[in-house]
Structure formats: C-alpha cells, structure tokens
C-alpha cells in the first residue's frame, strides 16, 4: 500500500515530466482517423518547455528536456541531437525572458513566445539543412508553429490551474 501511495505521489508531482516523455515517444497514430484535424496539429512539447521554464522551472529539469529531445529525434528519424538543441535554445531564450522580466503577464509572455519559437525553429532548420539531406514540408511546419503559438493561452491557463490549484489540494 505504501509503495502504491509513493507511486501515486511520484506521478502527481512529476506528471508534466511523464507527459513530456510520452509526447516524445508517441507518434499520434490516432489523429489520422480525423484528417480534417491534421491542419490543427501543434507542438505541445514547445508549449510545455516554454511555460514550465518560464513559470515553474524546478518542475521540468533541463536534463529531461535534453533526453526527451533525443528520443524525439529517434522517433521522427532526424539527426540525433536536433530536437534537443532546439528545445534547449527555447529554454535558453525563455530563461533570459524570465530573468529580464520584472512583471509578467500572460499577454506579454504570449508575445515573447513568437521570437522564442522563431529561434528554436531556426536552429532546427539550420541543423537539418546542414547535417542531413532531408527536405522540409514548409507549409506543415508553418501551420504547426502558428497553431503552437495560437493554442498557448489555452495550455497556459490549464497548466496554471493544475500547478496552483490541483497540486495545492
């Protein structure tokens, strides 16, 4: 019983890390059943990294970000280390925003998500262009980035509520 309780305690406290790794391992095969929704695909990992590094940096370690990135690369089939570097650049940019900002508001954080995404994707493009022979589906990537930006507030309130209300209870 004590083991179960410990396990439950671990999962509740590290739920976001578990979700983050699950997203890395997952291929989202089920979404193919809804072809009309494919246009709305977005990168939840980017939102999680940005939000947690900005608001609750102690809940999502940079080591986890690095490792999840490596797993992501293996699953997608791109050069090893690309997603890690991209996530870490996002982390770096977010840490800088956190350090430089005195009063944080959701809207300002939402706006600063644009350059953060830009730099992160830029690193992604540079690495893939120079370290592999892969071609991009630019439209898909653009859509993905746009919806990642667009859906940020939804997850912002979802994560804020989870961290402040649920974890307190």
């Amino acid at each position: 019983m004590k083991i179960l309780n410990n396990l439950k305690f671990f999962f509740i406290n590290n739920l976001i890390v578990v979700i983050f790794y699950t997203l890395s391992f997952n291929t989202f095969a089920g979404i193919k059943e809804f072809p009309n929704l494919l246009i709305f695909t977005f990168n939840l990992q980017m939102i999680i990294v940005y939000f947690y590094v900005l608001k609750f940096p102690s809940n999502l370690g940079t080591g986890h970000i690095f490792l999840a990135g490596i797993i992501n690369d293996v699953v997608i089939g791109i050069p090893l280390g690309t997603s890690s570097l991209s996530f870490l650049v996002l982390t770096f940019f977010t840490t800088y925003i956190r350090t430089a900002t005195l009063r944080s508001k959701m809207t300002t954080e939402w706006i600063t998500f644009v350059p953060a995404l830009f730099f992160s994707n830029l690193v992604y493009f540079i690495v893939i262009n120079n370290f592999s022979h892969l071609s991009f589906y630019y439209i898909e990537l653009l859509q993905n980035t746009f919806f990642t930006f667009l859906f940020f507030p939804i997850f912002y309130y979802l994560f804020i509520n989870y961290e402040t209300k649920m974890l307190k209870n």
């Binding site: 291929t27 089920g30 102690s58 370690g61 997608i76 890690s84 589906y137």
Partner: protein
Amino acid sequence: MADSRDDFIIALRYSLLKKGNKQKFSLFFLISLSILVIFLDRMSLPFILSTRAVLNDFVYQVTVVASTPGKFINYLGEIKKNHFNVVNKNKILKESIETLKIEGYDNFFLKTENKILKEALSIGGIISTEEVFVMPARVILDQESPYLKSLLINKGTKHGITKGMTVFSKTYLIGRVIETNFLSARVLLVTDLNSKIPVIIQDTDINGILVGTGKKTNLVLEYMPEEFSLEPNKIIYTSGKDGMLTAGIPVAETYLSKKNTIKIKSLADPQQSLIVHVTNGQMSR
C-alpha cells in the same frame, strides 16, 4: 548605454551558466552536449552507429507501447469504415475479378508471344544470377512528421535487411529502407518529399523521376521532356535505371482530378500497410 549592455550580458550569462533549483546541469553544458551529439551522429563512426542502433531499437519498442491508444483509435475507425464499405467493396471486387480474368488471358498470350519473339531474336534465356531476397515484415509504426513520411518495420540487420532494400505492400512498391537497426528498420515511403525513383510511363518510352510531395494522391514527375503531356489512367513503372530496382514494377498511376488536371497517385496505400515484403530490388509476388 553601457549599463544596459552590462545588464544584457549578465542576464545572458545567468541564463546559460546558472543551475536552477533542482537542476543538475547548466544550459551551457547541455547545449554543448547536443552539438557534440549532432557532430558525432554526422561523423557516423562505427561505435556511434552501433550505439544508435541499440538506442533506436529500444526507443522504437517503447514507442510501439506508447502509440497503442492511437492505434486503438485507428482500429475503431477501421471497423467503422469496413462496416459501411463491405457491400460496395464486394461489388467492386466482383467486377475486378472479371476484369483480371480477361487480363490474365491477355497476359498469357503476351507472355507466349514474348517468349517466341525472344527466341526469334536470340535474346531469351537471360536469367538474373542475383539471388532473390524476400523478407516479410510487420509495420510497427507509421510516422508522419514534417520531415519524413516513413514506416518502422520489425525486421533489421539481424534478419538480413540492409540499407537501400525495396519494400512492397501487396505487390506494389511503397518505399526503400533508409535506416537499419538490429531489430528494426525505417522505410522511406514513395510519397515522401525525399523519395526519388526513376520511372517510365505506360505506352511511352519517356523516362522521368517520380518524386513524392507528402501526399499519396499527388506525386510529381521530374525531368520530363518539355513538350510531353500526361494522359490519365496510365500506369507508371520503375525503369530500373538506378541499378537497384528491377524494371517494370508498378508504382503509381495518373488520374483526372476534380479540377480536371492530371495528377499522379501512388498505387499502394502505405498508411494501410500492415505486412510488407522487403526485397533486394526484385518484385515481391
């Protein structure tokens, strides 16, 4: 001015070097490590390749488990589709059987005629000495990322799979092996942007390169003569000019789209493939 620059540098240095609460590594260390991993992966040293193969196999096995809920949704969708399509399919299949029967007679006649003509021209009897390798494999994952449209199969170097081998589904070419691990391999689909296959068009002697665009119903022919225009309902076969694929494997067909433009679609449906055949370039029958 100088103060603001100092603040900027301090903030940057803090972001890179300062370890946060409960953080074991600094960002600078991890970014350097990522760059090192990218370079090592690029160099393709033997020990890196074997490490990557082990890592790939491990991650793929976990991915299969992690993707189970998604696959279950697909399974439910398939059941629903099958339920509604069974009558129509039966009707179409009956018609297809009749057509195939007639085509079978034609093929038999053409084969006999071909044999006679070869004998007459003294070019018959050329048999490939290359041993045909056919390995059935199960699709464990199909990955559609903005970078690669690929499949993961459950056979790897342990089963004799090597890079460049061709993969068939129901006698149609669906792709090539681009990455091999001990127990798994990645197949680049013909519909992918990075896939390029030398082909020839039915009833013509026009050679071209078939390139994917990411969509099954919209492949593209490159390096075609300027004055050449496509006709609908023509099969596109491999020309065998890459030295890997044998000539005459059906890959795609032309069709008239809703906008009255002629487009090319893949004959196989890679997303529906569950069992595939990996070969060394020969057609899987």
